[in-house]
Structure formats: C-alpha cells, structure tokens
Amino acid sequence: MSEELKVPTMAQYMAEGKEPEVLFWVGCAGSFDDRAKKITKAFVKILNKIGVDFAVLGTEESCTGDPAKRAGNEFLFQMQAMTNIEVLNSYDVKKIVTACPHCFNTIKNEYPSLGGEYKVVHHTQFLKGLMDEGRLKIEGGKFKGKRITYHDPCYLGRANGEYEAPRDLLRKLDVELVEMKSCKQKGLCCGAGGAQMFKDAEKGDKEVNVLRTEQAIETKPDAIAAGCPFCNTMMTDGVKGKNKEDDIEVLDVVEMIANAEDL
C-alpha cells in the first residue's frame, strides 16, 4: 500500500499527444463503493507493476446506463450511453477493459448500435491475455492449495459466454478449484442484477444472495472468488449473514492475483 498508484487520465494522455494501449473503465461501483474500490486498486497495481499503458476517463466517466435500462428506463439509458459514447469517441478509444461485467456487457453489446464500437474485455479476459503473452506471471503464492469456488457473474457468463478466463487465472494460482452445484451456464444469480442492487427484493422466503452463498458454503471453500463488484457485495453479505466471514473470504479474481504477488 505504500507505493502510490499511477492512474493517468485520458485528458492527460491527450494533452501529451499520446494514446494508451487500453482504457480502463472503472464503473460506478469501482469508483465509489468501498469494497469495490479495493478491486479497482488491485487491478491498477497489477497494471502498474507490469507496465501496462492504460488511462481512465476519471471525472468524465459516467454510469453506462445498465441499471436504468434493466429497470425499464430506455430513455435514461440512451442518454447515458450517448453521453459516454461522445466522450469515448472524442478520445478515439479503441479498446476498453473493465472489472464490472455490467459495464462490460452494456458497452460491448448495447453501445455499438448507438455509435460506440470498441473492443471490450472483462478484466479477467484482459489478464488472461497478458498471461498468455507472458507479460503477467502468476505463481501460487498465498492461495496455493486453498479451496476456492468461483461464482459466475450472469453478465459475464450466460450473457456473454465467458466461463473460462477467470477459472484459468485461478488455476494458475495453484488453487483447488471446486465448483458449486449451479455453475457456468446454470450458475445461480447473486440477486443483484437487473437493477435489484438498488431496491429491496420482493417478498419471498429467502434472499437470492443467501441461497447462492449456501451453495458456495456447501463446497467448503477457503475463499469465494467473484468477478463482479455487485456479486462481491452480495456474496460478502451472504457470508456475513452466516457468520462465516472469519473463515471464508470473498475476493475478486484480480485481488487474489494481487495478493499472491504481494502487491
């Protein structure tokens, strides 16, 4: 934590007449939510360490519109989308990486028909790419041999068919990867999607995150790995609700890599 993070903005790059290799889309959770900010920082530490040339939009970034669209407010969604597209296009952005599957899905799938065409990758896909290129070296570290279960975020998994990049990264950490009873295509939602994060659940006999956490606990994990700031919040709450927070950590895949690297 001693070293300061290097987080250049697109505006700074432009002033210097340079273009970064990739734009890091931080997202609202990654910018403001205390738990999610740790994920953001862990990712930046890794990017800084291997010297990835990236930039953020900083104060020019705004909500992608995902929760508005899923709540049914198409108008607000498109207002957000077009504002963002205008900013992104003004910087001639070509490649975007984000640690939020909701931002990832929206920019990748719903921006193109509104004039925003970029190569968009989830941070686990990006890190997998760096690993394949040999730029990122992951070795066991503190998670070696630990039992880890990975929770598929709906908007990375089913919505976009990415199940393996995060698992490949976890395998590189030499963890014992155990699957929950509902995983991959059949993965159970954490309960936060579709704007549910911002409202109370309808009446039922259980919260969705509790059911999902129970499935995770059944695998007797040392930690639950996630790839989404909202899933992270939901699973963390679920684990706390079961009074297991001292035994089971909920971590983003990128935090596990950063921890293993002792960053």
Binding site: A71, M82, A195
Partner: protein, 449 residues
C-alpha cells in the same frame, strides 16, 4: 355397402384436417397481432440452430433422465407416424398392409415401430409418475393447477392409449394372419414382424375369427380417430410444441443473451436532443413521426409484444425448466418465467376468442390487458435479468424479453417504478452514478491509501 368404411374414413380424415386448418389459421392470425420484428437474417445459422436444438434435442438432454425419456417419445412419435401413412392408405382404399410388398424391409419397419411403441409407453408411464407420484417441484407449482395439470396428464393418457391400440391392432392382425382369415392373410406369408404384439396375440386364441376381426377393426378405427383427435387437441393444449418448437428455435435470438434491444424511437429522440445544430423550435416532421414513433413504449398487452414473443407463448410446453432455474422463483418470489409465457398465451387466446366473435374488436380498447389482469407488477419487479430462464429453455423461448418490455411500459408510460429505483435513476440523471456521489469525486479512489 363395402365402401361404407372407406367413405366414413374419408369423411373423418377430411373433417380432422379441415378443423386443423381452421385452427392453424387462427393461430397465425393471433401471432400476427404482434409487433414487427425482423428475424429474416442469418438463415444458415438459424437453420443449423434449428437442426441442433429442435431436431437434435440438444438442450433437452441437459437433464439426462427427462431428456432421454423425451428423446424416446419424440423419436417414437416421428417414426411411428410413417406407419400412420400406411394406415391412411389402407383406410382410403380398403387394402390390408399396402406396404407389405417391401418384404424384409417391411418386417423390419413394423418390428421397429412395435419396439418403439413399447418404449414410448414405458416413457409415458415414467413421465406420469414424475408428475403425479414423485411430484417434481416444477410440475406442481401454483401455475400448474387446474387445466395445465390436467392437460399434461391428458396428453400422457392419449399417448398411452394410442400405443396400446397400435399394439392391440397388430396383435389381432397377427392372429388373423396366422389363422388365415380372409382379407388378412397374404400369399407371400406373414406380413410384418411383431416382436412385441406376439406376446399379446395368444390372448385371442380360442376366440372366433369374427370377434378378433371386430377387435382389430375397433383398435384400427379408434387409433386413427385418436390421432386425428390429437392433431386437433394440439391447438387447445400446451402440446403445440411438437409443431412450433421448430419455427420457434429457427426465429430465436442469435445475439448474446446480455444484449437487450435498443429502442429506435428513443435513439432518434435522444440524438435530436444531443445534436447542437438541432432547432428546438422546429416543426416536427409530421409524417415521419407518425411512422416511426410507436404508439407507446414497452408492452402492457399482447399486441405490444413482437410476433416472435407471441409465437413463443404458443410454443411453450410448460416444462418449467425456466422456472426451476429462476433465482426469484427458487427463493419463493411470485415470479415464474413459465407463468409469464402461459399468461401471455392465455391473454392472446382471450383476444383471439373476442376476435372470433367480433371482427372489429380492438384489444387496446378492452378493459382487460396482460399487465395487472394476468401478470402482476410484483412478478415483473422480482426479475434479476440473469438469463437463467432463457438459457434453460429447450426451444429458444425468451421470457425475459417480455418482462423487460413490460418494465419498460411501467417506467416509460406510467412512471411506476419502485421508489428506490426512482432514487437510483434520479441519481444517475443528476450525478451520473446510481448513488448520490458527485461525478467530480469519481477519481478520488486513486488518491486514497
């Protein structure tokens, strides 16, 4: 006199087919009440998806037991229908086993039909046990009470009876061929092979030839009339999937499940608002507006949905795999994606019935609609848009798209979002984030230790 059975058969066949054609016409009319949607693209990709998912049952077998039993019934149904062709020709021309000249090939075919018929009967019994004895959760949920439950069982009974009649008919026929009854015995010897009905046939030993002929004829008639009845039962039943699964998979969504469609009318409006050169006082281009602005945003009734969504409501066979995977349903919320499809169909049928009675009926002027009268707001707001239902459907139905269209109506036409969501949306509008933080603080994390 000898032509009377043939004439009766022709009448039954014609009546069955004409009635079926009438129902197909109604089905088409009802589906076409939906909004336009272009699914004429990617023809070869659609064809191969249909081959894989509908013909090849690739998504059925993700549940191995139900999947295997279903494949047996499906293959049995398709193949035994080859025999129905012979039954129809025999019925029309008063022949006996017209394809018998095929010799060993014929024996092989009839033999396979018999084995399949037995396997189908066993599978149907197991299906019945799963529904009525084991009571698997997805078969006994609240939307499966009454007609849907009975419908499912009637289908199983009809299938079982048809198989029993087919085997009885063959058993009696075998007996009659063996004793050399006139009109049954073939010069070339036994026509057909009877690996299953040979065990039923001894029951007829000792009966008079006349009685066995009566049994054979009765089984033959009830079997073919049963098939004609079943064909016409489809329109009133969840069983329409045997026909509609194919077009439904063909026209299903090929894009990533996470991609929700962008409304063009909204795009046009937002573009105009953001265009610095736009003249805010300009007269709207009237003709264009009339064409392009939809009457309303989202859906509150069936005519606001697309024809594909309506087709899907008829395709749904109420298996409940969607509901079994739904996180909201698994945690006791009201939402059931299957019910969304069933309600859509029920309302569409209601509209169709009213149209049958009165050609000038307009659903938008009805005091009943899909929203509230069938699907409640509580159901719609319980959805996490996780796509588990879409992934689970073996025939490419997208219940989530209907939920989204209806939420769109609630928010854009009625401003009726739950209060907390309105807060989040106000925050997005004012602070560019769903929480009340200032956009200027967006990069503060980079300076925090």
């Amino acid at each position: 006199m000898q032509f009377i059975p043939q004439i009766l058969f022709l009448l039954a066949l014609a009546f069955g087919l004409i009635f079926f054609a009438r129902n197909v016409k109604r089905l088409r009319r009802n589906i076409n009440l939906g909004r336009d949607l272009d699914r004429s693209d990617h023809k070869s990709e659609r064809m191969s998806k249909m081959m894989r998912v509908a013909l090849g049952q690739s998504k059925m077998v993700t549940k191995p037991i139900a999947g295997a039993l279903h494949v047996i019934v499906y293959v049995g149904f398709v193949i035994i229908n080859i025999e129905v062709l012979e039954i129809i020709i025999d019925g029309l021309f008063g022949t006996h086993r017209i394809f018998a000249f095929l010799g060993p090939v014929y024996d092989f075919l009839i033999g396979s039909f018999e084995i399949l018929a037995l396997l189908v009967a066993v599978s149907v019994i197991l299906f019945w046990i799963r529904r009525n004895v084991i009571k698997i959760r997805r078969f006994v949920l609240s939307e499966m009470k009454g007609w849907p439950k009975n419908d499912a069982n009637y289908i199983l009974y009809i299938e079982l009876v048809l198989m029993a009649l087919f085997l009885t008919m063959n058993a009696a026929d075998l007996h009659l061929q063996t004793v050399g009854a006139a009109g049954y015995a073939h010069e070339a010897g036994l026509a057909g092979a009877f690996p299953v009905s040979q065990f039923i046939s001894p029951l007829f030993d000792g009966m008079s030839v006349g009685s066995v002929i009566a049994i054979e004829r009765a089984a033959w008639w009830i079997h073919i009339l049963g098939i004609l009845f079943f064909l016409n039962y489809l329109y009133y039943s969840k069983h329409l999937h045997i026909l509609l699964a194919f077009p439904n998979v063909y026209f299903s969504n090929l894009k990533p499940q996470g991609e929700f469609k962008n409304l063009q009318a909204v795009t046009d409006e937002v573009k105009m608002m953001m265009d610095p050169d736009a003249d805010p006082f300009a007269e709207p281009a009237e003709e264009e507006e009339d064409d392009e602005m939809p009457a309303k945003f989202g859906a509150s009734d069936v005519q606001d949905l697309s024809w594909f969504q309506l087709l899907s409501s008829y395709t749904c066979t109420e298996c409940g795999r969607c509901t079994a995977e739904c996180p909201a349903n698994q945690t006791g919320k009201l939402l059931s994606p299957r019910k969304i499809m069933m309600d859509t169909r029920d309302r569409l049928e209601d509209v169709g019935e009213k149209l049958n009675k009165n050609k000038d009926y307009k659903p938008e002027e009805d005091d009943k609609q899909l929203l509230d009268d069938y699907i409640t707001r509580e159901e719609l707001w319980a959805c996490t848009t996780c796509n588990a239902c879409v992934e689970a459907c073996p025939v490419g139905i997208d219940p989530l798209s209907i939920i989204m269209d209806m939420r769109q109506y609630l928010v854009m036409e009625e401003s009726a979002a739950p209060a907390e969501l309105n807060n989040a949306m106000t925050n997005i509008e004012n602070n560019a984030a769903p929480w009340p933080y200032n956009q200027q603080d967006r990069l503060n994390w980079s300076k925090e230790a």
